[in-house]
């Protein structure tokens, strides 16, 4: 009953204050408008003409052709006779990609594989690669695709996108959490209103949960707004087909959702811990900036390091970022994702316990 009253109070304050609602929703809208505008400036809407060497046959080819036609683009299929020559053509820009299917590909049999060779530095090549992978995921391909690029430079397309998205998610989640948590925890402590609640018979653990639960929900709305802003506008910015985001399975989206859902309360708890320790919003902001840098470093590490061992699931933040990266690459790291969710929730519970302890500490609460 007391916990419910505490939770309702936070929601009441948020949903009755237009400024807070704008603070949470505005970043997503601004990101969408800004990225879309930039995308329109950078990428022209000229139709693409692609030449693709094809080896083996699959129903996937028909789906690809249909999607390309619907986009107003053209594709010419060439039989793959000499791979060396075809590779040279891709490298020279005379062809877009080489696409290969094993004989039993459509039967999902043992050893069924697909392969693509493309120029990751070419806009057409990256577009075609994104299209192929999204179609393969949409038809339920559960085995890896052999990907080779003829360009040593970094892929400007999907690879950047899939590795960058988890980092962006972390950034937006952190920003959303920061904007509501600092004010609610450090602000209340600074204004002395938290002491008023401490003078009642409510349990300290309920006060901590009464902050973390609603702030996590509110932050999740903010993070979702920013995330949607990115997802809807980034393909435009990167010159990719937005269809690549619709190609993921329900399980992939569910895992992504669970990872973000476990990540939000973790970040809220971490910021709330720092805010409870601080004497003012200003002090809490300074400490939270350090926390943000740490989280950013961990996220960046996941961009740089190609693969981690299984131990990564035990490291909060890094576990979620790594799992999200794998999901966006077309993999389905089910157990890693679920363990990561569990680990994040355990760390959240630990932080809630710590906050409850700090609320009982007069040194922390009254600076004595």
């Amino acid at each position: 009953m007391k916990l419910v009253a505490l939770i309702k109070k936070e929601f009441h304050r948020f949903f009755h204050d237009p400024r807070l609602i704008v603070t949470i929703l505005l970043p997503g809208i601004v990101i969408f408008l800004l990225y879309t505008l930039l995308g329109n400036i950078i990428h022209t809407e000229e139709s693409r003409e692609m030449k693709v060497y094809l080896s083996g046959n699959s129903a996937v080819v028909e789906v690809l052709e249909q999607q390309i036609k619907e986009s107003g683009d053209k594709v010419e299929w060439l039989p793959l006779e000499n791979e060396e020559e075809a590779r040279a053509a891709v490298k020279e820009g005379e062809a877009t990609a080489i696409l290969t299917f094993s004989e039993n590909f459509d039967l999902f049999g043992e050893g069924a594989r697909a392969g693509i060779v493309y120029d990751s530095g070419s806009e057409n090549g990256s577009y075609f690669y994104g299209l192929v992978t999204s179609v393969l995921i949409s038809v339920g391909m559960r085995f890896p695709i052999d990907v080779q690029t003829v360009n040593d430079s970094a892929d400007m397309g999907r690879e950047i996108l899939t590795s960058l998205l988890p980092f962006l998610v972390v950034t937006f989640v952190f920003s959303a959490c920061m904007s509501v948590t600092l004010e609610s925890v450090a602000g209340e402590k600074e204004r002395g209103t938290l002491s008023t609640i401490l003078a009642t018979s409510v349990k300290r653990s309920h006060i901590a949960l009464g902050k973390i639960i609603p702030l996590s929900c509110i932050s999740a709305i903010g993070a979702a707004s920013s995330f949607l802003g990115v997802v809807l506008s980034l393909p435009k910015l990167m010159g990719l087909d937005a269809a690549m985001f619709t190609g993921y399975s329900f399980i992939s989206y569910l895992l992504l959702f669970l990872l973000i859902l476990s990540f939000v309360p973790l970040i809220v708890s971490a910021i709330a811990t720092v805010s409870t320790l601080s004497r003012s919003v200003k002090e809490a902001s300074a400490y939270t900036s350090v926390l943000m840098i740490l989280v950013m470093i961990v996220s960046i590490v996941s961009l740089i390091v190609a693969q981690f061992g299984d131990w990564v699931v035990a490291v909060p933040v890094l576990n979620a970022v790594t799992a999200m990266g794998q999901i966006l690459s077309g993999m389905l790291p089910v157990w890693q994702s679920l363990v990561s969710v569990g680990v994040n929730l355990v760390f959240t519970a630990l932080l809630v316990w710590l906050i409850a302890k700090m609320l009982s500490s007069e040194r922390v609460m009254f600076g004595k």
């Binding site: 209103t193 008023t196 009642t200 009254f366």
Partner: protein, 263 residues
């Protein structure tokens, strides 16, 4: 003997509290000491239906004492019992039977008095029907009905104090602790507060208040404790403490005896 014991609602035994001084505080207090004894061996008791006044200058330890009694901070030594519950060992039970109001405890400016009354009622576990009845009574008595739907941030100091007052007694506590209850109030609001304190006494509640206003103690209190530098220098029934003199004369006699003449 039993009657005497059960009528003792508040009992403080040898309370001691020491604070660590920050460098800024050391500079302000012009001392090189890193610790300050705020309350030093304080003992007193208050009975049911009594108003007990803690009188002393700023920094004497009045607020620290009241905060220990309301379980916001823990005594370093000694203990206090409210309705028989130890503030050290049973803080949760103490909070259930204490209403605490201090100038340092603030209300969130975003909410209305109506919302905050319901919220703090829920915090104290007051049942909904009781809460509605109590809100009607208290809001009418303090004239809060007129601004019950106005955000606290838009209220005057007097209005805020009225709201704080009713919220501190939302759960109908047996012991009410008020730290400087009339500070910063206009004469009309101060009168409402002092009248209410007298009514709490008539209702059989125990009231502990800290103040530096002699007239308030003389008008309301049955017992008085004079605190100087964290020590109880005189304590007892008002008549016994003052004798033939006024409270003000008695206070300065004690003060000068300890600290010397004020220049």
């Amino acid at each position: 003997m039993e009657d005497l014991f059960t009528s003792e609602i508040v009992r403080a035994e040898n309370l001691k509290k020491t604070f660590t001084l920050s460098r800024k505080q050391q500079r302000l207090e012009k001392t090189s000491l890193t610790r300050k004894v705020a309350v030093n061996g304080l003992s007193f008791s208050a009975n049911r239906g009594e108003i007990y006044g803690l009188l002393g200058p700023n920094g004497a330890g009045k607020t620290t004492t009241l905060r220990m009694l309301s379980t916001l901070i823990k005594p370093d030594e000694g203990d206090a019992y409210i309705m028989g519950h130890s503030v050290r060992k049973e803080p949760q039970k103490v909070r259930d039977c204490v209403g605490f109001l201090t100038g340092e405890l603030k209300l969130e400016t975003f909410f209305t008095p109506d919302y905050l009354f319901d919220f703090f009622g829920a915090m104290h576990g007051v049942e909904k029907e009781t809460l509605v009845k109590r809100k009607r009574e208290l809001f009418a008595r303090f004239g809060i009905d007129a601004f019950s739907q106005v955000k606290v941030g838009d209220l005057s100091t007097g209005m805020k104090q009225k709201v704080s007052l009713v919220i501190s007694i939302v759960h109908d506590p047996d012991v009410v602790i008020f730290d400087e209850p009339t500070n910063g109030l206009d004469v009309l609001t101060a009168k409402v507060v002092t009248d209410f304190l007298a009514e709490l006494k008539r209702m059989g509640k125990s009231v502990l208040l800290s103040t530096h206003i002699f007239s308030l103690v003389e008008k309301l209190c049955d017992r008085v404790g004079i605190i100087i530098d964290g020590k109880m220098v005189e304590e007892g029934p008002l008549e016994g403490v003052c004798g033939e003199r006024s409270l003000e004369e008695k206070f300065f006699e004690l003060y000068h005896g300890l600290k010397g003449e004020i220049v």
